[in-house]
Amino acid sequence: MDIEKRIAELAERLAYIRDIFGERDNANITLLASKLDEFSEREKTAQPPEKVRLLQQLEELFVFLEKKLETDLTPMDRVRIVRHPLRVSLKDILENVYDNYTEIGGQDEYSIDPSMLIARAYITRRRGDKVFHQPVMVIGQEKGHGQEFRNGGSVKPWGNAKALQYMKVAEIERIPIHAYVSTPGAFPVEDYPGAAQQIARNIYEMAGLRTPVVSVISEGGSGGAEAIGLSDLRLMFSHGYYSVISPEGAAAIESGIRQGQRAPAELIEACARRLKITAQDNLDMGYIDRIVQEPHLGARAYHYDFFKSLRQEIIKATDEVYLRMGGLNFFRARAVARNKAADAAEAENMYVSWTLDDAACDRLVWRRYQKYRNMAKQAFIDMRTPSTRFFSRTQNLLWSGYSFIRYDFLGKHEKKIGKALRDVEGEVRVVVNKITAPLRRGKPKNAVLACDPEKKQKLLELSQPEQGVCLDDWGWSYVSPRAREDKAVTCPNARISGCLDLWAPDLYGDFAGVCAHCGHHFPMEYQWYLSNVFDKDSILEFNAEIEAGNPLEYPGFDKKLEDAKKKTGRKSSCITFEARIDNVKIVCATLYSAFRGGSVGAAEGEKFIRALARARKKHYPFLAYVHGTAGIRIQESLNGLIQMPRVTMAVRRYIEAGGLYLVLYDTNSYAGPVASFLGCSPYQFSIRSANIGFAGPGVIKETTGIDIPPDYHRSYQALARGHIQGIWDRREVRKNLKQALLTIGGRNLYYR
C-alpha cells in the first residue's frame, strides 16, 4: 500500500513536471518517464525488498533530475508554476506558517469574493519561559488549488474593497499586515465600486496606512497585485513572477492578433523573457527586497520545509520593519541585518515587540514614501546638464524655504491676526449700529437706494455685440488641422439621433469638435486644450528634458520610442507645466495619447511626481488633464507598474498637505493610471464622450467571457457608477475649471 502511494506520488510529480515544461522536449523528463514505466513493469514481478530498493533509487533519481531541471526553467515555466493547481496557496500558508488563524470576511464560496482571503492569525514566540502570541492580519488572493469559485485569484472590485476594510481594521488595532499576492490580475468589471477605482482607493489608503505591511509575491499580476502589494518590505517567492502584464497579453499586443486568436507560443516565451518578470530580475531592479527560496520546481502543499523557512522569513521581515522604526533596538537590528543572507533560523527565538507609537507610525509612513520614491530612478533618461540640475535643486530649496516662511510661518500668524481683526471689526460694527440707531430711525426701511445712472444703464440694457462682448467666445486660439480639410464628417450617433453631417471646418473649428445636433465630442488634439483652456501665453513647461527610455532593452522598442519622439517633438507622454486659468496659477500634468498612446512609464511617473512636489511647495492647485492614456507602458514592465503606487503616494502627500488635486479625463483613459494616481482623486471629471475604465472590451471578453455593451466605458456610465463627479462640455472646460478652483479644494492653496 505504501509503495503504491509512493508510486502515485512520483507519477504526480512527473505530471507536474510535464505541465511546467509545457510542450518543450527535455531529455531528463523523457528519462524520468521511461524509468517510471520501467519500474511499473518490474514492480509486478519483483519481490518486496527489491521493490523498496528500486523505488528508493527512482525517488533519488527524481530528486536529482528535478534539481537538474531547475536550471532549465525559463521565465514562462515559472509562470506555469505559479498558475499550477498544485502551487502552494494562501490557505496552505495559513495552516503551516501561522500558529492559529480565523478566516474572516467569508468562508470558501460563502464570501463576497472567495478569491480574496482574509484571516486574523497569530505567530507564537517565546521569550524565556513566556509565550507571546503576536497577532497579524493576513490578506491575500486565494487560488484554492483549482477551486472554480476562487476565480483563479482574480479579485473582483468588492473583494479588494473587503481587503481595504480589513487593512483599516488592522490599522485601528495596530497589528501588522501580511499581504500574500497571488493573482493573475484583477477581474476587470466596472460594476460598483469598479475595478480601477477600487484599486486606486486601496493604493491611496495603503500609502498612508499607519501599520507595517509586509508583502509576499507569488503571482504578481499587474493592477491586481498592486491592490494589496504596497508595503514596507517586499518578499518574493523564488519561482514567482511579478509583471505589468501576463506574457500572453504582451504577446497578443506585440503580434497584433485579434480577439479570440492565440499568440504563438514562441512569442509568449520571448515576451516572458523580455518583460523581466522573475524574482531575480525584480530583485536586481530593486522592486523587491528579498527572495524566499522555494524547493526545486516550485513550492507545493507538501513541502513542509518550505513553510518553515517562509515562517522564519516573514517573522524576520516583520521584525525588521518594526526595528527600523527606532526604539531600543541596537543589537536586534544588527542581528536581523546580519541574518539577511543566512537561513534566519534564529528569527523566532529573538523577541521583537510588534507595536509602534504615534511618532514611529509617522516615520513608518514617511519611510514607505521614501522607499517608493527612490524606485525606478534609473529607468528614465535625464538629459539635464549638471548645472541645470544644480539650478533646479537650488530652485526647489528656495521654493521650500519660501513656502515655509510665506505659508507655514507668516501665513499662520497672518491668519491669526486676520481673524482677530475681523472679530474686532464685527464687534465695532455692532456697537456703531447700536449708537447710530436713533439717527437712522427717521428713514424708511425699504427705501430705494440711489444708483449711479451709468451703472443703472449698464444693468438694464442688453449687451452690445458690436463692442465685441459676444464675439469673444467664438474665437479659439488653437484650431485643429483637421479643420482645414474640405470634407463632411458623420457623427457616430447619426443613426440614433439623426445628426446631420457636419462640415469639417465648422466641426473642428467653431464647434470645437462637438456635434451641433447631439453634442457628441469628437476627439481633439491636446494642443487645443493647452491653447484654449489656459490664459494666453501663461504656460511654462518644466522638466521637459526627462525622457522616456527603454530600461529593459526591449527589442524594437528603441525604434518605436524614437518614432514617437520624432512625431510629437516631445520626449515623453507627460507634459508638466505651470499655467493660469483666469489668473489663478495652477500646476498641470497632461498625459496625451499621441505619444505611445499616453502610456505611463518611469519618465512619466517621475514628471508627475515632480510636478506634484512643485504644486505642493508653491501652494498651487494641481490639474491632471488626461487627454488619453492606454495604461502602463508594458515594455518597461515593473519600471512602469511601480509608478502606480509611486505616483499615488506623491498624490497623497500633496492632498494631505492641503492641495487640490483635480483630474479631468478626455478621450480614452484606461488601466494602470486610472487604477492608481488618477482614480484616487476625490474630484474626477470627464469631458463628454470620453471612455473611462480598467480594461478594454477585448480584454474583458477574453478574461471574463462577458460581452459588454458598447457604451460600457462611456463617461455617463462612469458617472452613474459614481466613479467620476461630473461631465463637462469641451467648450466649457475653462469655465468649469475656474468654478471648480473656486468651490472645491484643499486648505493650503495660495488663493484661498
Binding site: T490, D707, P709, P710
Partner: protein, 216 residues
C-alpha cells in the same frame, strides 16, 4: 372575418420580405456587392454592435459613408447602372430579400389577426381576481373580453388602480406579461381575437411550426 388561411397562403407564395436599400442622402454611390444572389448578414453581436455586411458606400463632400445590411438575406437586385454615379436621396439602390423564419411568420400572422391591448404606462399589471382565477383554472382562452370591461389592476409603487379593456370583443388568445414584471408603456398586455378564429389560428401556427422550412 379574417381569413387566416389566405394570409398563410400569401406568406407561402412569397416567403420573404423584400427590403429596399435606398440612398440615405445625395452622393456618389460605390457598390461593394456587385452581383445579385450574394448572401448578406445583418448586424450581429449581443448588443447588435457589429455592423452587417458592407453593401455600398456613398460619398458626399469627401465623406464616404458605409451602407450595411440590416438583416440576413440575399441580394436580389442591384442597380449596377448607378455604380460610381451621383444619386439623389431616397434613390433605390438594391433589394435584399430576407427569408422569414418560423417565428417571424407566426408573428406576422398574429399581428394581422390579433388585437393587441397595450399598457398605458410603465407598471406591473395583474388580472382582476375573477379573470385571474379563470385563467389559472382553464387557460387564457376561457376568458371573453368586452369593451369597457374591468380586466386589469395597474400597480405602480404600491399604488393600485383598475384598468378597463378597450377594443373589439373576443377571447384572450395570448398573455404577454408576467405578474411580477414591469411592462413598459406601449408594451402589449394581451392579444385578443374573435372566438370562432382561435381554432383556425392555432391550426395555422401548428402548421407553420411543423412545416415551415427556414432558409438562411
Amino acid at each position: 372575418m379574417i381569413d387566416v388561411k389566405t394570409i398563410l397562403e400569401e406568406i407561402k407564395a412569397a416567403p420573404y420580405e423584400e427590403i429596399e436599400i435606398t440612398a440615405p442622402h445625395t452622393g456618389v454611390i460605390n457598390f461593394e456587392i456587385t452581383t445579385p444572389g450574394v448572401k448578406v448578414a445583418g448586424s450581429s453581436g449581443t448588443y447588435r454592435e457589429k455592423p452587417g455586411t458592407l453593401l455600398a458606400a456613398i460619398t458626399r463632400e469627401h465623406n464616404a459613408k458605409p451602407i450595411h445590411a440590416s438583416v440576413n438575406g440575399e441580394v436580389s437586385h442591384i442597380r449596377s447602372d448607378l455604380d460610381g454615379k451621383f444619386v439623389e436621396a431616397g434613390e433605390p439602390l438594391m433589394v435584399v430579400r430576407h427569408f422569414l423564419t418560423k417565428d417571424e411568420v407566426v408573428e406576422a400572422i398574429l399581428q394581422k389577426v390579433l388585437f393587441l391591448f397595450t399598457a398605458p404606462e410603465r407598471a406591473k399589471y395583474y388580472f382582476i381576481p375573477s379573470a385571474d382565477k379563470k385563467i389559472k383554472a382553464s387557460g387564457c382562452r376561457s376568458v371573453t373580453v368586452k369593451p369597457g370591461m374591468e380586466l386589469f389592476i395597474v400597480s405602480r409603487m404600491k399604488r393600485e388602480k383598475p384598468l378597463n379593456y378597450e377594443g373589439p370583443e373576443g377571447i384572450i388568445y395570448a398573455v404577454y406579461f408576467d405578474h411580477d414584471q414591469n411592462v413598459d408603456m406601449g408594451g402589449p398586455l394581451i392579444g385578443v381575437c374573435p372566438e370562432d378564429q382561435t381554432g383556425v389560428i392555432q391550426d395555422v401556427i401548428n402548421r407553420v411550426q411543423s412545416d415551415w422550412e427556414e432558409r438562411s
